[in-house]
């Protein structure tokens, strides 16, 4: 099989962050110090070597960048100060952009201007839709003597738009995931076939890793806090996602339920953990005390900031309605929706939403490959490891 060399590869990836990768002299310290490397997946040195050699196809077919959770130990101990951990992060950003054939990912990662315009454009959509709705009805529908949110933003209309938006984003995401699968599963030997059974049998691991990100915990106990914060964030995020996308008709209501009603305590739980986790992440990035937080790009600030804004505005909508203030409720609701639409639109192509899919998918695909290989060569697992 021929290999095409792309000499500009490392310069291209450098636009997504990371240090000057020509510093690396391939001593292998990073791989040997990594507690996740091993068992068929050795990184970071291997992928960094691909970068140096310009082996773009090999890098596109590497699940390794997604197996790194950025504990930073390789950067701490790198004899050349080449920041392998941040380079892995840059590779993840670059891969996200490469798997995203629409070009949005690349624009957002490499241009701050693109980030701002994307956010502004997305935030304008709910504003325009609401204005259009009320313009058609001559601004007569809005109840102002008491809080009736559903007169300001009729829930069924909102729900329909949310579902449409999600269908669009979901399609985008699935296409990206498909591109990743195509690259990683492209057989080196055209004769070799991966049986469908392997894909099916590994689905369980996909689900487990998707929900728990449990491989992260192998980074070492000192990173458990980070993992837990992330898990809390995910739990809050998923609850909110289910409430908004799946059950908006039930969630956005003008009834004030008793406190023990799930509509309320689910909302409270999600709000609390989202505020806590996003604030913790922002503070970490601000302080730069840990390796993972030393290098922050604009896109890294985006997600926790939006989460924090979303959670705070969301709970304020609730508070204002509870207080019975119609206009503050409506105004805050509009800000909340604008922020959330902007977040989803700018985040789905890149970063957070992308890694939600890519990380478990990478582990899944590796397991599928391993299962196939083990079936083909039963002794493969019994290599002497000294």
């Amino acid at each position: 099989m021929s290999t095409r060399v792309h000499p500009e590869l490392h310069r291209d990836i450098a636009r997504f962050g990371g240090d000057d990768i020509t510093k690396c002299m391939n001593c292998g310290n990073c791989t040997a110090v990594c507690s996740l490397a091993g068992d068929g997946a050795v990184f970071p040195r291997k992928t960094i070597r691909y970068m140096q050699l310009g082996l773009k196809d090999k890098l596109l077919a590497s699940p390794e960048p997604w197996l790194c959770y950025y504990c930073g130990e390789c950067s701490d101990t790198c004899p050349r100060d080449a920041n392998p951990a941040e380079t892995m992060m840059a590779m993840r950003r670059w891969l996200t952009a490469e798997y995203d054939h629409s070009g949005r990912g690349r624009r957002l990662y490499t241009s701050e201007k693109a980030v701002v315009t994307t956010i502004l454009k997305a935030a304008f959509i709910p504003l325009a839709l609401l204005l259009a709705l009320h313009a058609v009805t001559g601004f007569q529908r809005i109840v102002t003597d008491r809080v009736e949110l559903n007169t300001f933003a009729p829930v069924m209309w909102v729900w329909a738009v949310v579902l449409l938006h999600f269908a669009f984003l979901g399609y985008h995401l699935m296409m990206n995931a498909l591109h990743m699968i195509q690259h990683i599963m492209k057989p080196e030997d055209p004769e070799a076939k991966v049986p469908w059974a392997a894909y099916l049998l590994e689905l369980k691991s996909l689900a487990i890793h998707f929900i728990t990100q449990k491989r992260w915990r192998e980074c070492g106990e000192e990173h458990d806090g980070q993992w837990l914060t992330h898990l809390l964030l995910v739990s809050g995020y998923v609850i909110m996602l289910v409430l908004v996308v799946g059950m908006l008709g039930w969630f956005q209501t003008d009834n004030i339920y008793p406190v023990y009603h799930p509509q309320r305590w689910l909302g409270y739980y999600a709000t609390l953990v989202l505020i806590y986790a996003s604030a913790a992440m922002l503070i970490g990035r601000f302080r730069k005390r840990t390796q993972v937080h030393r290098f922050s790009r604009p896109t890294d600030w985006l997600f926790p900031s939006f989460i924090l804004v979303g959670a705070i505005t969301g709970i304020l909508v609730h508070a204002f309605r509870y207080a019975g203030w119609p206009w503050p409720t409506y105004g805050m609701y509009l800000i909340h929706v604008m922020a959330m639409v902007a977040m989803l639109d700018s985040e789905v192509g890149i970063g957070k939403w992308a890694h939600m899919i890519y990380r478990p998918l990478a582990i899944y695909l590796m397991n599928v490959k391993k299962r196939t290989q083990n079936q083909a060569v039963p002794e493969a697992g019994a290599l002497p490891t000294n």
Binding site: C27, T31, P79, T385
Partner: protein
């Protein structure tokens, strides 16, 4: 407190091989030289080594005659166990304040008979043996120390008085005080040498707490003919090691350890030690984990090829971490770069850190110009006058200017002596011939 005054042509700071060579080269030209050494014996690091690369000559056999020559040279005075406090310029001369630390033994009376050492019953780790052997609270620093004068470690002494009773010449003096000396000199040669980086420089390497992970200088002592055990054993249980790992670039070319430069000698001393171990322990497996082998000097490449031919295994890998199992066998974790890149944990009986060389002394402490960014003495004209420092009239030799091997140190010491002599001729009017008779002891 005594205040002695000494007048000399050249003050040499440091009595290691570079300082001794510079002093001898100056003294042979007729200049009066004072060597100041902070340790209780001259000889520096070299006298503690086993053999030299790439010739495998005996270190003691080269270094001891130089020490003796300096001791007996009519133009050389030596002050051991003495520290330089301050150096300043006064017109054409340098004024140096020295403090001689108390040995609690009268240097003029002591004959080095060691009766005190035999009588003392306080046992302590022996610094000269890399803390592997044992010394007494009163002791002659090592068997071929110059001067052969005992030294009392008052901090650890239990003041039982046995040494005082057995001393045949009454040399023990518990009331000795630090002694200040002011030196006037025409030039200064800095030959302060190096230290190896501390074994706890990297938390991944066990922070110096793993008993079977040794520093290279400790292994020099294990291999020396008069070393602490008289043979090669591992410290934790006295087992003869069957498998020994060398961890190269431990504290050099490692920015995470704060040392970005190459220490120049570690590749060759590791190969030398591995060869000597092959001779001592013919059945042992020796593995050298390296990033690059830098065999740049005369005869070095052949030396490296010989080592490979002897069956020493060279594995290209930076050791990421060293841990130990329940038997205290060191386990090194590496990526097998030259094969499939898998991560392996390899168990050995003993591991040796090829520790990098770091500066042993900061010239700012005595009022001299700041060192280069790497901490070694700054050389202002490395191409045309390599021994010149920012302070006019102060010259540098040996590892004080940067890591180097013994032949290079000796060449540089000669160069420093030559530049210092030229400086003396130019700036002071103490031409060599009239000073030959002045010998201070």
């Amino acid at each position: 407190m005594h205040h002695d005054k000494i007048d000399t042509d050249a003050l040499v700071i440091g009595g290691g091989i570079a300082g001794l060579q510079a002093a001898l080269d100056l003294a042979d030209q007729g200049f009066r030289v004072l060597i100041v050494e902070k340790q209780p014996s001259i000889g520096g690091k070299m006298i503690g080594l086993s053999k030299v690369f790439p010739t495998l000559d005996c270190c003691s056999c080269i270094c001891t005659p130089r020490m003796a020559e300096a001791e007996h040279h009519p133009n050389i005075a030596i002050m051991t166990y003495t520290e330089v406090r301050h150096v300043r310029r006064e017109g054409d001369r340098f004024i140096a304040d020295l403090v001689k630390k108390p040995r609690y033994v009268d240097e003029d009376k002591c004959t080095g008979c060691r009766l005190c050492e035999y009588a003392c019953n306080t046992e302590l780790p022996h610094e000269f043996e890399g803390d592997l052997g044992v010394r007494k609270a009163i002791y002659v620093p090592f068997s071929n120390a110059v001067p052969q004068v005992a030294l009392l470690d008052l901090e650890n002494c239990i003041l039982c008085g046995r040494c005082e009773k057995v001393c045949p010449v009454g040399a023990i003096d518990f009331l000795q005080q630090p002694q200040e000396t002011v030196v006037r000199a025409g030039t200064v040669v800095v030959a302060t040498g190096y230290e190896t980086i501390r074994t706890d420089f990297k938390k991944e390497y066990g922070q110096g707490r793993l008993p079977n992970v040794l520093g290279a200088l400790q292994v020099e002592r294990l291999l020396a003919p008069h070393g602490p055990y008289g043979r090669v054993l591992r410290p934790s249980d006295g087992k003869v090691p069957d498998s020994i790992a060398y961890v190269q670039c431990a504290g050099s070319r490692d920015r995470s350890a704060g040392v970005s430069y190459c220490s120049r000698v570690c590749c060759m001393y590791a190969i030398k030690q591995a060869m000597l171990l092959c001779g001592t322990l013919p059945l042992a497996d020796i593995t050298i984990y390296y990033m690059d082998i830098r065999a740049f000097g005369k005869g070095f490449e052949q030396f490296y090829q010989n080592a490979k031919a002897m069956g020493i295994e060279f594995v290209k890998a930076k050791v990421a971490s060293i841990t130990e199992d329940q038997q205290q066998n060191p386990i090194v974790r590496i990526e097998v770069i030259e094969e499939d890149g898998r991560v392996e944990q390899r168990q050995h009986d003993m591991a040796v850190l090829s520790l990098g060389l770091v500066p042993g002394w900061d010239p700012r402490e005595v009022g001299l110009a700041a060192p280069a960014p790497d901490g070694f003495i700054r050389c202002t004209q490395p191409m045309i006058a390599p021994c010149r420092t920012p302070d006019e009239g102060v010259f540098v030799a040996g590892c004080a200017a940067g890591p180097k091997d013994i032949p290079d140190s000796i060449i540089e010491a000669g160069a420093a002596a030559m530049e210092a002599a030229a400086y003396l001729h130019e700036h002071t009017h103490v031409a060599g011939k009239e000073t030959t008779t002045t010998c201070m002891k």
